[in-house]
């Protein structure tokens, strides 16, 4: 802290531990609420979930992220008791709930479809769980008011409405009020935004997060959308092919991916096949030197050893462009590392930044890179309104901190 009482924030962080700490700063790391211990699920035809182990702490929002078919929804259904695990134990606080029915577990679930009872009013929907749990009438009314207030729906205005008379966002709020009203030990959210319009999705993320924090609710969020996980998850469990691939805060997964899959799934990257310049040599900064796309590259290593022949792939984050030079790299520049020369075929802008589509030696498809709008405009002028059919040759100076080497070639091939 300086004399004026303000804290000067540092401008850059480097270690994986620091990245991990970003997301974990939100929720107090309290007692373990939910413990999933070696839980698996096998059907006659296939294994849906290999042994999964993780904990959820008091007040935390844990995001389970993965592509479809990765087993994330299976985990949710196992925790809720809608499926019976083939192995492992599930504990909620100090209770072993593995063998309990969904009714006995007191776990709230907000379904992807919201699963409101379409033939019941909003009032009856919220009351349903309270009546099922034999909450007395006075307390029921109190809870209805309380949780409608919490989700910012006027109890008087919406009590007699039917789900079909509500917008998607309002339906989600009712589903949340209904799940929270029974005051469950933990709340499970299954793809909470996927049935919502893309436009209101952003607002609902902000809103749902505030509502969960306000209620002090411990929650598990299942999603296939990394933005959901990045926005809402204090920690992220990344799944693939029925197993947990990596657990950590989103920034930890982004900056310290342990496998090629994590590197591919989190963030946006381009990939270049490479060979090591000197497989044995370690540099002082922990980076290694590789040859790729006709240049020299200094890259960090993912938690993987460099293979005997040093063959592998380099991951380049799409926003890793430090500088753009029109033209091929000159002789002096050629000795410098992390320069990528290619031919720009297309230029566009998302509004906040420019995108250039570049054809790069040894990469199978055209790769997008993010540049500033000014840089995009300059390149667009060189393209001269399509008068240059072979594109404009451009050299990008890439930030070595955002380059990473992976040795697992077989996985790499599919996306190059």
């Amino acid at each position: 802290m300086n004399a004026s009482g303000k804290t000067d924030l540092p401008t850059a962080i480097t270690s994986a531990r620091q990245f991990a700490a970003i997301g974990a700063g939100n929720a107090p790391k309290g007692a373990t609420v939910l413990q999933v211990d070696g839980v698996s699920k096998a059907y006659a035809e296939a294994v849906a979930l290999k042994s999964a182990t993780f904990e959820v702490y008091e007040g935390e929002i844990l995001a389970i992220l993965g592509p479809s078919g990765s087993g994330k929804t299976t985990i949710l259904r196992l925790i809720a008791g809608l499926e019976i695990p083939s192995g492992g134990r599930i504990r909620l606080r100090d209770r072993d709930i593995t063998a309990l029915t969904p009714q006995e577990r007191r776990i709230g679930v907000m379904f992807q479809s919201f699963a409101l009872f379409p033939h019941m009013s909003v009032y009856d929907n919220v009351m349903f769980g309270l009546k099922a749990n034999k909450v007395d009438a006075a307390e029921r009314e109190k809870r209805f008011q309380k949780y409608m207030d919490l989700v910012r729906l006027s109890p008087q205005k919406y009590a007699s409405r039917f789900p079909s008379e509500l917008s998607g966002g309002q339906q989600q709020r009712v589903a949340l009020a209904r799940a929270l009203a029974v005051e469950p030990g933990i709340l499970l959210l299954d793809e909470p935004f996927s049935s919502l319009d893309a436009r209101i999705r952003e607002d609902m993320r902000v809103e749902l997060l505030s509502r969960l924090r306000e209620a002090g609710m411990t929650a598990v969020l299942v999603t296939h959308d990394q933005t959901d996980a990045a926005y809402m998850g204090d920690r992220v469990v990344l799944m693939n092919d029925g197993g947990i691939v990596q657990t950590g805060s989103y920034s930890e997964l982004y900056h310290a991916p342990r496998s090629r899959f994590v590197g591919q799934f989190i963030g946006e990257s381009n990939w270049l096949p490479c060979t090591a310049v000197d497989p044995g040599a370690d540099r002082q900064d922990g980076r290694r030197r590789f040859k790729a796309a006709g240049g020299i590259w200094d890259c960090a290593l993912a938690d993987q050893p460099v293979g005997d022949d040093g063959a592998g792939v380099i991951q380049i984050r799409r926003d890793a462009v430090n500088d753009v030079i029109v033209g091929a790299s000159t002789a002096t520049q050629a000795s410098a590392a992390n320069l990528l020369t290619g031919s720009v075929r297309n230029v566009n802008s998302t509004g906040s930044r420019g995108i250039i589509w570049m054809e790069v030696e040894s990469a199978a498809s055209v790769q997008p890179y993010y540049v500033t709008n000014a840089q995009a405009l300059a390149i667009a002028e060189h393209l001269q309104g399509g008068a240059q059919p072979d594109g404009v040759t451009v050299t990008l100076a890439i930030d070595p901190a955002l380059c990473r080497y992976f040795s697992d070639i077989d996985v790499a091939q599919e996306r190059l």
């Binding site: 008791g81 969904p102 699963a115 009872f117 379409p118 029974v182």
Partner: protein
């Protein structure tokens, strides 16, 4: 015309020639002719003949007499016939109720089952429809006959009782109820039942508050079918009731084939038809009322 100069007006660039359009329209009506004719000859004609004969006395000797309401006034004045209408209605309602009581657990089990068990259940449900009615009813006849298996097992005399007829009718027709309920049950989204479970609802609560409202349309349409079939059934009452049951179909059978009084038979037939129409109209209204209240809302909110 050069292809590039054809203006796009939201229609086909090359409209079909008029004679093609005319031919298509003609074919449409031609295709409708056959079912229309079958409907007129096979359904409307006999129906109008039945109602027509009900107003015309007929004698083997003198032929048709002049139109009269005689048969209807006879039937309306007969306490026996009024009792037969009540018997027929209550027997059919009981068959509907028992079919629903069998249909719900069976339907729910079906929905919860895997493919193999589903096939087995479907075979069990459909089998009565595949066996010849006389053979099937004869099976019940033996089962309930004096000194037969049922009587020697339970010491109860069932032959000639309304209960025996009811049991045979349920066996004969409950498949229609099951199939009708299955259509409704399969429209319940899985998430909705799962949500009810996670909210702590007991099985009974889930049935009463979710499954029952959702399956009302199927229950009612299945009920109408089973009611109509039961009210019109003749084989079971004849074979198991020994021909002495006071049911409308028995009276029709006797009027037509024993007393050779077609006018009375036709009048009784018209009465049976009216009973069915009343049931259809009442349940149609009930469904419509429930639909507008709940199920239409359900349909609309399904994405």
């Amino acid at each position: 015309m050069h292809p590039q100069t054809i203006p796009y007006e939201g229609k086909l660039a090359h409209p079909q020639p008029r004679w093609v359009v005319a031919l298509k329209r003609w074919l449409w009506w031609a295709a409708l002719t056959a079912p229309l004719a079958a409907y007129l000859i096979g359904f409307l004609l006999p129906l109008s003949l039945m109602i027509g004969f009900a107003f015309r006395p007929y004698s083997n000797v003198t032929g048709f007499g002049s139109p009269s309401l005689g048969a209807f006034t006879d039937v309306a004045a007969s306490g026996l016939i009024i009792e037969a209408v009540i018997n027929t209605a209550s027997l059919s309602l009981a068959v509907v109720a028992v079919s629903a009581m069998i249909g719900f657990p069976l339907g729910l089990q079906f929905m919860a089952s895997g493919r193999k068990l589903r096939t087995l259940l479907l075979i069990i449900v459909i089998t009565p429809l595949l066996i010849n009615a006389v053979v099937r009813t004869f099976g019940w006849y033996i089962f309930f006959s004096t000194g037969g298996p049922f009587e020697s097992m339970f010491g109860l005399r069932m032959h000639g009782s309304m209960t025996a007829v009811g049991i045979a009718l349920v066996h004969q027709f409950y498949a229609y109820m099951v199939i009708s309920l299955l259509v409704s049950l399969s429209s319940i989204p899985g998430d909705v039942v799962a949500a009810a479970k996670t909210l702590g609802a007991s099985r009974f609560m889930i049935f009463r508050r979710i499954i029952l409202p959702y399956s009302l349309p199927g229950l009612v349409s299945g009920g109408v079918i089973v009611f109509g079939l039961s009210a019109g059934a003749i084989l079971a009452p004849l074979m198991l009731g020994g021909g002495t049951m006071n049911l409308l179909t028995i009276h029709i059978y006797r009027a037509m084939l024993v007393f050779l009084d077609p006018q009375r038979g036709m009048a009784l037939g018209t009465l049976l038809l009216m009973l069915n129409i009343v049931v259809v109209v009442l349940s149609e209204q009930a469904v419509r009322r429930m639909r507008t209240r709940s199920v239409m809302k359900a349909r609309r909110s399904d994405k």
